[in-house]
Amino acid sequence: MENMVNVYLFGKKYQVPAGLTIMTAMEYAGYELVRGCGCRNGFCGACATIYRIKGESALHGCLACQTEVQEGMYVATLPFFPLEKKVYDIEEIKPTEQIMMQLYPEIYSCIGCNACTKACTQELNVMQYIAYAQRGEYEKCAEESFDCVMCGVCSSRCPAGISHPQVAMLARRLNGKYIAPECGHLADRVKEIDEGAFNELIESLMQKPIEEMKELYNNRDIEQ
């Protein structure tokens, strides 16, 4: 007999084998998922979930695909949460403090309750990255928020109505485009290709008989 645990899916009790994730427990219970299921590997944020263990006060945020079921778990999935995303032209905006004030002014209403950080499914320091965004420190905001999967659980807990993942998204794009150092060798290579520097060489490879290509491939130098 398998070791079974009791979980409450949207309040209804099911017995499922211990060791399942919340997602596979739902499937074990008979749910054919359409919403709230994405990559099933912790990268896409589709399966944001809130749970509480019966008898405890703490409320937890998690990804259903990455969280093992526990005895007495009350589960509510959050397959969609209305985040506010502002539209902008990445070519027009600049990484100034003003841009956050203009697009996401609500971040300055943060009351410092830290509920976002406590709820984060990726264990990120969400309140800290919002603080960096407030100060226009986009490089730090980008780094601190890097592992965000944009599931939205943080925002569901925010009394100030902040859409944290969208703030972080903007900071990362600003950092990637404007703040991080430019790559010289990349620009050089694009220029060489545009000038046709490799055309002849590649054309000659395309014409070679397979046996010659095998020779080339099997005897090529491999960088250590």
């Binding site: 994730t21 008979g30 990455q66 060798h185 490799f198 130098d221």
Partner: protein, 534 residues
């Protein structure tokens, strides 16, 4: 710590031999050794797992049995179910699929000034692109060149790729990185802007660009953000279930189904791009998969039914390092970057049994041999597996390397009590990638006029095996390419006058006559994981 004592005991053997193993530079296999290994142990060579198609444009070709069932399956509709005279959507370029290729195509089509629209059965960004961890290749360093990249990719794919597609892949690679970077995608860089690059299996230069081990996620979320900024319509939770043709047999739209309400809708378009991704959720040969929930080969079915040929549909990629244990993440991807950073593959006796950076097909076959013929695998409740000695990374490069370079891996195993900085992990091949797909030309056009394909659903770019980092590259290069060419074609194309679904009846008839009709409703749309037998 592993919850099973035996595994902790066995992990100690790996730890004891770590110093000696780290110093080893294992020999690479010869071409002959690789050929024999593949023929004996690679799943692509198991003939009884394939079925020869009896109907359609690839009649006589073999494909995985589960795919044959869908290709020779039954349309979800008949022509009478929809009113083609009153389309619900009208657009220039219809893009089916909201992953990396679809989003890139949409951005380029929009840039070209035509009306683009994305339909996706889940959400935009719910795609294998989001899950790509290790990186993206581009020959942009002084010691490298697109020609060397060409040799690596063409040879790694067993000399079977279409040369003109490989040329496009490698010569457009640096520009693809630059395009992403200008959109705001972050890449790992040195303080002076030099890209931090590593090897992948089968690369002869270090040209793997990454954004930690969230490379695909960083790219996908940025593309998604850009699609929304541009106001490109995204119709989510809506699957394409049939391609619509015009009276001349050219693609002219698609029948869509809201997958929640099952409502049928008609989209009319001047050109159509299929960018639906792969097929891991068909679980060929019973393998677990690293793929997205929606990876069910839909695009192959859509294209095949209207006469688009498949190329190399019989070749799949089993990523050598799927998670072998614990069960909650069984089959989940352990990025190749773990090996790029120096972790070696080790058997139950603590022996390094191969060079860790052979190509994926060779590495997968070698792990399968270790676990079968040689009987040197580690037994778990889920089957056999081999060790991937992750602590070797910090032994070589110092403490903190794992958290900085592969944080997603550390988190994924950490949730189950396994600290990959201190303990080796168990891996076994997992179904990862569809090497073949819809046959395309250099402009991403298929055999059906005005029908294009890009991304994992397309075939011919990687031959019979794909290198790490060439798939993220492929979705960007060919996604953009499809967007550019489909937009240009749309400009020269009038709004299709007469839409038809005659192909459904025609294909049904051919199936019936061939005796191969499976009767299975296809495309599959989503896998069926709900437990039904109580």
């Amino acid at each position: 710590m592993y919850k099973i004592d035996k595994l902790n005991e066995l992990a100690k053997i790996v730890a004891e031999k770590r110093e000696a193993n780290a110093a080893l530079e294992p020999r690479r296999m010869t071409a002959e050794e690789k050929d024999t290994l593949l023929a004996t142990f690679h799943p692509d060579y198991k003939q009884d797992e394939f079925t020869v198609l009896s109907a359609g444009v690839n009649k006589g070709d073999k494909v995985p049995t589960q795919l044959a069932e869908l290709l020779q399956g039954k349309s979800r509709i008949t022509a009478a179910d929809v009113d083609l005279s009153a389309p619900d959507y009208d657009t220039d370029v219809l893009i089916i699929g909201g992953g990396g290729a679809g989003a890139s195509a949409a951005i380029e089509a929009d840039e070209a000034g035509v009306k683009a629209m994305i339909v996706t059965k889940l959400r935009i960004g719910d795609a294998n692109t989001m899950m790509a961890e290790g990186g993206i290749q581009a020959a942009d360093k002084p010691n490298d060149s697109p020609a060397i990249h060409y040799i690596d990719a063409f040879g790694g794919g067993h000399f079977a790729a279409k040369p003109e597609l490989v040329r496009k892949l490698v010569t457009k690679a640096p520009e693809a990185i630059q395009w992403l970077n200008k959109l705001g995608v972050e890449f790992d860089k040195e303080p002076d802007g030099t890209m931090v690059t590593t090897h992948g299996g089968g690369t002869s230069r270090k040209r793997m660009h990454a954004a930690k081990d969230y490379s695909g996620a960083e790219i996908m979320r940025t593309l998604r953000d850009e699609v929304i900024n541009r106001g490109i319509p995204v119709i989510d939770f809506t699957a394409a279930i049939e391609i619509i043709l015009d009276e001349n047999g050219k693609a002219a739209g698609a029948v869509l189904m809201n997958i929640e309400t099952k409502e049928l809708l008609v989209a009319r378009a001047k050109t159509v791009i299929i960018a639906t991704g792969g097929a891991g959720r068909l679980h060929y040969q019973g393998f677990p998969t690293s793929n997205h929930y929606g990876a069910t080969a839909d695009g192959l079915i859509l294209g095949y039914r209207v006469g688009a040929r498949l190329l190399y549909a019989d070749t799949l990629q089993y990523h050598p390092t799927g998670t072998g244990y614990p069960e909650q993440i069984f089959g989940a991807l352990v990025t190749e970057k773990v090996r790029s950073l120096g972790a070696k593959l080790v058997n139950i006796d603590g022996e390094v049994f191969m060079h860790p950076l052979e190509t994926r097909d060779v590495t997968a076959a070698s792990i399968i041999r270790e676990c079968t013929e040689r009987n040197k695998g580690v037994e778990t409740s889920l089957g056999k597996a081999v060790w991937l000695d992750t602590p070797m990374i910090e032994y070589k490069h110092g403490e903190g390397t794992i958290e900085k370079r592969i944080p997603a891996m550390m988190r994924m195993f950490g949730k189950y009590g396994i600290d990959i900085r201190k303990e080796p992990i168990l891996v076994y091949p997992t179904l990862h990638y569809q090497n073949g797909g819809l046959n395309i030309s250099e402009d991403c056009s298929t055999d059906v006029e005005n029908l294009y394909a890009a991304g994992e659903v397309a075939g011919g770019i990687h031959g019979r095996n794909r290198l790490m980092g060439n798939s993220l590259l492929d979705v960007i290069v060919f996604g953009r390419n499809a967007g550019i060419y489909a937009a240009a074609k749309a400009k020269d194309t009038a709004v299709p006058e007469k839409l038809t679904l005659d192909h459904i009846e025609r294909f049904n008839k051919e199936l019936e006559e061939s005796g191969a009709a499976s009767g299975t409703a296809s495309p599959m749309l989503l896998p069926h994981y709900a437990r039904r037998s109580k």
